[in-house]
């Protein structure tokens, strides 16, 4: 069974540009989560989808971040415009019941 996949693995952009991260959950998992780890800090929750609906977006830092999950399969997380403090590793996780399985993350560097 394929695990959670994320694309790209690395992204380097300049401040003010737009970046879109993609997550493909494990097939059949209704729950999809986005998390972020910034330098030196713990992994923090961003938001949670159940199928295509946003269940909890309390962790989204501001309105420069937009997450979508059209059709309830893969999800995208867009940062527009990117700021220096957005640099970090963005993880996606999926679950069907309780256990969340994580993808390898996208390392985003904003210069």
């Amino acid at each position: 069974e394929a695990g959670v996949t994320q694309f790209p693995s690395h992204s380097v952009i300049e401040k003010g540009q737009t970046v879109t991260l993609r997550c493909d959950p494990i097939s059949g998992h209704d729950n999809l989560y986005w998390y972020r780890r910034v330098m030196g800090k713990e992994i923090k929750f961003l938001l949670h989808f159940v199928k295509e609906s946003k269940q909890d977006e309390s962790g989204m830092p501001n309105n420069r971040f937009l997450a979508e999950r059209t059709g309830g399969t893969y999800s995208t997380l867009k940062v527009q415009p990117a700021e220096l403090e957005d640099s970090g590793v963005y993880f996606c996780a999926s679950s069907q019941l309780d256990t969340q399985y994580f993808g390898p993350g996208t390392r985003l560097t904003v210069l």
Binding site: G3, V4, N31, Y33, Y35, K41, E42, I43, K44, F45, H48, V50, Q55, D56, S58, G59, F91, A93, S95, D98, T99, Q100, Y101, F102, G103, P104, G105
Partner: protein, 115 residues
């Protein structure tokens, strides 16, 4: 504010040693505590603990939860170089009547096992 604290932050041991990693938590709504191992990329699931005093085991790894004292430990016996990784503790803290199960993470413990 909900928080999870892990200790030590880092640890260096020799192969064959036994290690104990600690995780304490303070959260408003507790459902479960999870341990993950992160080597290079994706954190990989180790254990989910929901009840106090029941040890979970997988090979040389074991973990137990104390819901009264609000902590968990992860033990690794006869350590090997392949155990070198960041070990993450996370607490599942439901919101909105249980409709969402966000994880609250500690900063992790970096374990280095030397030959």
């Amino acid at each position: 504010e909900d928080k999870v604290v892990q200790s030590p932050l880092s640890l260096v041991v020799h192969e064959g040693d036994t290690v104990t990693l600690n995780c304490s938590y303070e959260v408003t709504n507790f459902r479960s505590l999870l341990w993950y191992k992160q080597e290079k990329k994706a954190p990989t699931f180790l254990f989910m603990l929901t009840s106090s005093g029941i040890e979970k085991k997988s090979g040389r790894l074991s973990s137990i939860l104390d819901k009264k004292e609000l902590f968990s430990i992860l033990n690794i016996t006869a350590t090997q170089t392949g155990d070198s990784a960041i070990y993450l503790c996370a607490v599942e803290a439901p919101r909105y009547g249980g409709a969402t199960n966000k994880l609250i993470f500690g900063t992790g413990t970096l374990l280095a096992v030397q030959p």
